[in-house]
């Protein structure tokens, strides 16, 4: 119960960050919040349902690695975009939308 509600709270805080931050990097930070919360919830739920610890851990590990890869690519995009446009606010990427 505590874990579920806590993770839900952290997750929705991440949602809020993604929705309100203007800064792409901060938006990525919000996404990290959601990923982390979801991962904890995943492990907690699996264990409370009698899941095999090793399987759960391996699964969560894979999630973790993929999320890290996503963050790396995201950062690369941000830095490149910044180099080209000197901007990192989502509002300012208007021209990207065409």
């Amino acid at each position: 119960m505590i874990v579920a509600i806590g993770c839900a709270a952290a997750f929705s805080l991440g949602v809020y960050a993604v929705l309100t931050r203007r800064d792409v990097i901060a938006i990525l930070a919000g996404a990290e919040l959601m990923l982390g919360a979801a991962n904890v919830q995943l492990v907690a739920f699996a264990l409370s349902r009698g899941g095999d610890g090793a399987v759960v851990s391996s699964f969560a590990l894979i999630v973790l690695v993929i999320a890290a890869a996503e963050a790396a690519v995201g950062m690369a995009l941000v830095v490149t975009a910044y180099r080209r446009t000197r901007r990192t606010l989502v509002d300012e990427f208007g021209e990207v939308s065409g």
């Binding site: 949602v15 993604v18 929705l19 309100t20 931050r21 938006i27 989502v90 509002d91 990427f93 208007g94 990207v96 939308s97 065409g98």
Partner: protein
Amino acid sequence: MMPLWFVLVAPIAVALVIAAAGRGPVRYTRWLALVGPVAAAWAGAERLADAGRETGVAAEAVSWFVTQTGSIDVGASADPIASIMLVVVGVVASMVVVFSFGYMAEDASQPRYFALLSAFTAAMTGLVLSTSLVGLFIAWELVGACSYLLIGFWFTKPSAARAAVKAFLVTRVGDVGLLFALALLWRETGTLVTADVLAAVPTLAPATITTAALLLFVGAAGKSAQFPLHVWLPDAMEGPTPVSALIHAATMVAAGVFLLARTWPLFEASETARLVVLIIGTVTALGAATIAVPQTDIKRVLAYSTISQLGFMFAALGAGAWVAAFFHLVTHAAFKSLLFLASGSVIHGSGTQDLREMGGLGRAMPVTAATWAVGVAALAGLPPLAGFFSKDAVLDAVWVHAPVAGAALFIASALTAFYSFRATRLAFSGTFRGAGHPHESPLVMKVPLVVLAVLAATLGAGSWWFAELLGGHAGLAIPIAVASTIIAGLSAVAGWALYKTGPAADDRLAGALGGLWRAAAGAYGIDALVMRGAAASERGAATASERFDTRLVDGLVRGIAWLARRVGREFNELQSGESQLYAALVGAGAVLLASLALWLGR
């Protein structure tokens, strides 16, 4: 035994080969066009030789598609009727093809021409052989399509293009009737295999039978140019003359008769339908015969003659004598295709279609003149030529059945003899009135004429065999035969004698007959009437559908477009390129949907 599939497939393949080979090798590939007709004639003859032992055997039948209420089968079989038709189609078509070698020799579009002829042969044999009404309908439409393409063969001529369209549209009216008939029969019997449908006739309500029969007759009337759907046939003469011989004299127009013969049990079960067929047939026979008299175009004379003779056949059908009608079909195919080919030869040799510009051709083209004479005599019903026997059978049947109609047909046959000999005298006697030097046609054109002339002269002898094969009554009704011979002979003499003076006789006759002559010359204005009526109804329908289209359909479309634009403009605001707004919408949507799912799934 020639397999039926070969008869069907070979002409199609040949058509493709000829069309694909193109103009260069057409001198050789055009001979391939003979494959289909010869195969058809061969197959039909073989089966006729076996007649009585193998009848109505489905050679190949497959379920085309299966529905909940039944399956639609298509197949091919050759019963005696079909076999006879195969022979007729095959012989006439092969003669026409050979004739065309000469007639079309100068034409640049020969590959198209011979490919179409071959395709037509395939369609016609398909129509004849089909075991189901669906297959028949498909072939029926293919025949119509080939006819359209051949009438409009010289499509650069506006009149030819118009005639093709007219023929296509008018016969389409009949085809709708046929389609309705098929729908009705499908609903009532659950099958469209011809034999099954006919076997189910006794179980049907009389009204249903009458309706189905009349609808079938509408289809047949369209294809066979019966009043008032005959208007396309005279115009169809815009096509090459051999095509007229093949399609518009011998085979396609006979398809209506064939259809009624094929579905005869339906008509046998319906007195009303037969009466309608009799009336229409008689009116057509008499009317077309009168129209044929004042025509000055040799092909139009033959065209109205064809309509008239088809009216004879339908009158016989209406009188219940389908065997007589079918026999007349066969003999008519022989002598009318002969006449058309001979007229083709005349046109080829004299360079004109106008009777008033001919004359004296008998000396210039003796073979043509001799064969034409045989054909004319057969058409007029002079003994002992083929036409005599078949027309006698028709007159006998109709006279016995309905004397009024019989009398009308006697008049019609008198007129037939009259206009036949009028045309003969105008064309072949006297001196040449046109320009240039008429000359005899080459050998390839003369051979078919001779063959067909022999057939036209001798087919009458087949009368007994024919009756035996199809189960009609044999023999000659002597009083009728004598009467009709006398009438035809007198009329023929009258026509011959009256036109001693050439075209001037027309003026005298016109003066004597007054308005009647002019009316007949103008085909009683039926053409204009029909076309105007059709045009009016068409325009009404067009206007209605145009209104429907602009108001409702376009309105709907425009309304949707307006709505889409409006909605788009409203939502334009949303698509600002702000990814976070999208994310917010996705989030809101997810929450809404999930809560909805939770609320509903409770």
